[in-house]
Symmetry: C2
Subunit: 67 residues, 2 copies
């Protein structure tokens, strides 16, 4: 199940966390050429991947980022 | 590598072929709630799946459907 991320919430995260997420999202934005800048909906498999990179749970990550 | 399908070309295919493709695309349209009705871009993995269902090649299928 994908999640719709509020990109302004990502900007307000502490640097170490925000940087990893930012790089991950930018890669997707570039592949899509999607620069709306307010929201980005990513795949359920991406949420799992990101949670693993950040050593957290899917649920915790979604709570911090979703619109 | 995904393909952008021209939905009007799908309508003009012979029934046996068009029906299989139509059902496949409708399933994706419903999951997305994307009813723009003119184009639908699907995943590279979907093209491979559809070609297998129709016993044709990726290249042949893309040639028949892309915008
Ligand atoms: N640019 C962008 N906007 C986002 C994103 N996530 C959510 N939105 C916004 O929230 C609505 C729902 O997006 P969705 O779940 O991706 O659901 C979308 C999506 O599945 C599909 N869709 C719309 N436009 C495109 C497109 O250009 N390409 C593709 N592949 N799908 C699209 O149709 C559904 C409805 O679209 P809308 O009525 O436009 O309404 C969209 C859009 O206004 C995102 O990652 N990027
Ligand atoms: N522009 C763009 N956006 C992407 C892409 N991949 C994922 N998304 C965004 O991330 C959401 C969740 O994707 P999902 O977990 O794979 O969950 C997806 C997936 O399971 C299925 N689905 C939608 N479109 C396709 C498709 O073209 N092919 C396949 N095989 N499944 C699809 O429906 C679910 C909901 O789809 P959406 O409402 O569209 O919601 C999608 C869409 O907003 C992509 O390559 N490009
Ligand atoms: N998840 C999600 N992603 C979104 C949404 N709106 C835009 N995007 C992403 O942003 C790219 C540019 O969208 P666009 O300027 O509306 O311009 C789009 C749109 O006008 C049209 N288009 C192509 N395929 C589709 C499709 O499957 N559905 C829809 N509704 N439009 C499509 O062609 C252009 C290029 O489409 P793409 O290659 O798909 O590339 C899209 C897609 O990756 C959204 O609501 N949800
Ligand atoms: N992990 C991940 N990768 C992403 C995401 N968004 C884009 N990509 C990668 O970037 C390629 C191009 O994305 P696109 O321009 O949106 O072009 C996409 C988009 O227009 C459409 N599409 C695929 N899946 C979905 C989906 O779940 N929802 C919507 N709305 N469109 C989708 O099919 C086109 C081709 O898809 P692919 O062959 O898979 O090729 C995708 C995929 O490899 C994402 O959220 N997560």
């Amino acid at each position: 199940e994908g999640v719709t991320i509020d990109l302004t919430r990502v900007e307000r995260l502490p640097d170490s966390l925000g940087d990893v997420i930012d790089r991950f999202l930018k890669k997707i934005q570039v592949q899509r050429q999607d620069f709306n800048g307010r929201v980005l909906t990513i795949r359920g498999s991406d949420v799992a991947m990101l949670a693993m990179l950040l050593d957290t749970t899917d649920a915790e990550l979604v709570a911090q980022l979703k619109r």
